[in-house]
């Protein structure tokens, strides 16, 4: 009897989870289609469909294939990458307030952007092409630095020490930036402010092509490691008892999270809220098991960023609101609503 109850319960949960995933995919597709139709120049759904199938005018082709499609795809990729990164970092550090920013990714990337602007100026021709790589390098070096500073021989990296080190390094870089930013002129400062608010600005196929390989490798890897993440949640002693090489796994997972977030931040500017909120939203939806949590988290992140990007593009035409700002404006109220009605 009890066993039977157990299996029906499991089956129920499984159906529920499948439904949630299907729902998320449907939402993502919906936002994709709406996003294709909207923008400075409006296209009817029929036109969009015809253009996608190869029957559009030159102008329609240009708008869809060269401007909108890459941007939408980047928004979705960035959303899922940051969300997954946040989920992994929250799991590894066992702290609900952790996000990719904890590993200094946003701070490191921002610092590089400011340094670049100080030396070469905002009008530099190469800006669009060099900035993502610089941001990536800044983020990577900072994350590595935080890891090394938090590392202690024999003990490895304990979550609490990682968090404290992350805070300290972030604060240090923040201070350095305050000192530098005072010296910037107004155009440069506006550029930095927009970058830090998170505006998806790398909007052509080249960026899609640089982003996709990272995610193609890292997303399956992280999902493959979901059981390790579950075990780590039980605490270091128990995971060691379960035969896990805790320190090694932690290092790999953190590395993957950094690579995910850094590659995304490089093209999207500093959007950090997705990494904090998407894991919490998904946990509310499907619970704490990473095997189902991670895919849902990726979907939620993608939906959040692509919807935010679409709204940011149209709401104050012709000027755009940076995506990072829209993400928080849309995501935070929903998150607060969930928090208020949550009965746990």
């Amino acid at each position: 009897m009890i066993k039977q109850l157990g299996t029906t319960h499991i089956r129920k949960v499984q159906t529920r989870n499948t439904l949630i995933i299907l729902g998320c995919i449907a939402l993502l597709l919906g936002s994709f289609l709406i996003s294709m139709n909207t923008g400075y120049i409006k296209l009817s759904p029929g036109d969009t469909l015809r253009t996608l199938l190869g029957g559009g005018t030159i102008k329609q082709n240009l708008i869809l294939f060269d401007f909108r499609l890459p941007r939408i795809i980047i928004a979705m990729l960035v959303g899922s990458g940051l969300a997954l990164s946040g989920c992994v970092i929250q799991g590894v550090s066992k702290n609900e307030l952790a996000d990719p920013g904890l590993l200094g990714i946003n701070a490191g990337a921002s610092l590089m952007v400011i340094l670049y602007l100080m030396f070469f100026g905002a009008q530099s021709f190469f800006l669009v092409f060099t900035l993502p790589f610089l941001a990536l390098a800044g983020a990577g070096v900072t994350a590595l630095g935080i890891y090394l500073l938090a590392y202690k021989k024999g003990v490895g990296v304990v979550p609490l020490r990682l968090i404290l080190t992350g805070i300290a390094v972030q604060a240090g870089i923040g201070a350095l930036m305050t000192v530098l930013v005072v010296k910037l002129d107004e155009t440069m400062f506006d550029f930095v402010a927009t970058w830090q608010a998170g505006s998806i600005w790398g909007t052509n196929w080249k960026f899609v092509l640089t982003l996709v390989p990272w995610l193609m490798v890292l997303i399956p890897y992280v999902i493959y490691k979901s059981r390790v993440l579950d075990a780590l949640n039980l605490g270091d002693e128990i995971s060691t008892g379960l035969g896990l090489s805790v320190e090694k796994e932690r290092r790999y997972l953190l590395g993957a999270a950094v690579a995910l977030a850094a590659s995304c931040v490089a093209v999207s500017g500093s959007i950090s809220f997705v990494g904090l909120i998407a894991p919490h939203l998904s946990r509310q939806l499907v619970g704490p098991k990473h095997r189902i949590l991670l895919p849902v988290c990726a979907l939620v992140g993608a939906i959040l960023v692509s919807v935010a990007d679409t709204i940011g593009r149209v709401i104050l035409q012709p000027s755009e609101i940076p995506t990072g700002i829209m993400v928080a404006i849309i995501g935070a109220p929903y998150f607060l609503y969930l928090l208020a009605k949550n009965n746990q």
């Binding site: 702290n95 609900e96 307030l97 952790a98 500073l149 938090a150 202690k152 003990v155 304990v158 609490l160 020490r161 968090i163 404290l164 080190t165 805070i167 300290a168 390094v169 604060a171 240090g172 923040g174 201070a175 350095l176 305050t178 000192v179 930013v181 005072v182 107004e186 400062f189 506006d190 402010a193 927009t194 830090q196 608010a197 809220f273 904090l276 909120i277 919490h280 104050l316 000027s319 609101i321 940076p322 990072g324 700002i325 829209m326 993400v327 928080a328 404006i329 995501g331 935070a332 109220p333 998150f335 607060l336 928090l339 208020a340 009605k341 949550n342 009965n343 746990q344």
Partner: protein, 350 residues
């Protein structure tokens, strides 16, 4: 480690707790006179040097024709007092947040105060550009209070009422929302740089009017924090333990939230978001006096005031007559030290 040796000398037989208490007394007894000494020293320094005797004269034999007297009374003294008040307020607010939420990353910024003040600031810059200094400070305080109020209200809506964990999450979300809105306003109205200059300014513009409003508020709230510190110690053991000991968690959390709001709200309104004080000082205090919040809170108050006064002094002396941003200075001073602390005590809890 030197400290343990020191403890051993003070307390020969196994009394670590008492050793911590001793250090607590030392911080309070030596720290407060030291604070006043540094404050007096700080008044004499700056773009123009003023001798200590002139400072004394300015106090007891004020001559309103003497520019040096005016400078001391109208500019330097309020500024030094403001930094001491703000430093202790931020540190105590941070200590309370960390204790209540048992989260080492928590500080008063998580109550939505910094974000609320920033939001109010960007609104006042965008829509009421002719507002005067005091008006902006008041407006920021109202913003901070609104931010904190929003966080507490949303956190207490759910079943089971207000609890620290829910408050932290609500705080993160409300902060993100308000920060984004103010970033949006700043970018749309092209104000990002003006707002940045205002926040970087720190305690530079403090005046007596401001202190008369702020000091009673902060001092009362500090007293409240000291009285409540017992309950925070219990909360810091975890909600289950606290409940087991018969504590009304929702009530204590609510009262603590009000005190944090007063402390940090007043501080943030005056200096902007100098976040690192609230994060760092409680960790330092915990390292020195142990896990008992009856000691952590008063020591945080003294240490926070010391740090802020020193940082203000530094910001004036490094590169006169320009002032180095005080937030940057605190972080640059604090980061190496904080990294050291993180290495030392990474294995213990909050």
């Amino acid at each position: 480690m030197k400290l343990t040796k020191y403890k051993k000398i003070l307390m020969p037989d196994n009394r670590t707790r008492c050793g911590f208490t001793q250090i607590g007394w030392i911080i309070l007894i030596a720290g407060i006179p030291l604070l006043f000494l540094i404050m007096a020293f700080s008044v004499t320094k700056g773009a123009a040097e003023i001798s200590l005797s002139t400072v004394g004269e300015a106090f007891f034999n004020f001559d309103n024709k003497n520019p040096q007297h005016l400078m001391v009374i109208d500019l330097r003294v309020p500024r030094v007092i403001a930094s001491a008040l703000v430093g202790s307020a931020l540190a105590v607010a941070g200590a309370m947040m960390q204790g209540m939420t048992r989260n080492p990353m928590a500080d008063s910024g998580l109550m939505g105060l910094n974000a609320g003040a920033g939001f109010a600031l960007s609104i006042s810059f965008a829509f009421f550009p002719e507002m005067n200094y005091l008006g902006i400070v008041l407006f920021s305080f109202i913003g901070a209070a609104l931010g904190g109020g929003m966080v507490s209200a949303i956190a207490s809506l759910g079943k089971g009422g207000l609890n620290p964990m829910r408050m932290v999450l609500a705080g993160a979300a409300v902060s993100a929302l308000l920060v984004s809105l103010s970033q949006g306003i700043a970018i749309y109205f092209n104000l990002a740089q003006d707002i940045m200059f205002w926040t970087v300014g720190g305690v530079a513009g403090s005046n007596w009017q401001q202190i008369k409003m702020m000091a009673p508020l902060i001092l009362t709230a500090l007293l409240g924090a000291v009285i409540l510190s017992r309950f925070i110690s219990v909360l810091s053991l975890g909600e289950d333990v606290a409940r087991g000991l018969g504590m009304n968690i929702a009530l204590v959390t609510a009262i603590c939230a009000v005190i944090v709001l007063l402390l940090a709200g007043a501080a943030v309104a005056v200096v902007g978001a100098v976040g690192f004080v609230g994060l760092m000082i409680p960790h330092l205090a915990r390292y020195l006096v142990g896990v008992d919040y009856r000691w952590i809170i008063p020591s945080s108050a003294v240490l926070g005031a010391l740090l802020m006064v020193l940082a203000d002094l530094g910001s004036r002396m490094i590169n006169p007559p320009t002032e180095t941003p005080i937030g940057a200075l605190i972080a640059l001073l604090g980061v190496p030290f904080f990294l050291y602390l993180a290495r030392k005590q990474g294995r213990t809890g909050v």
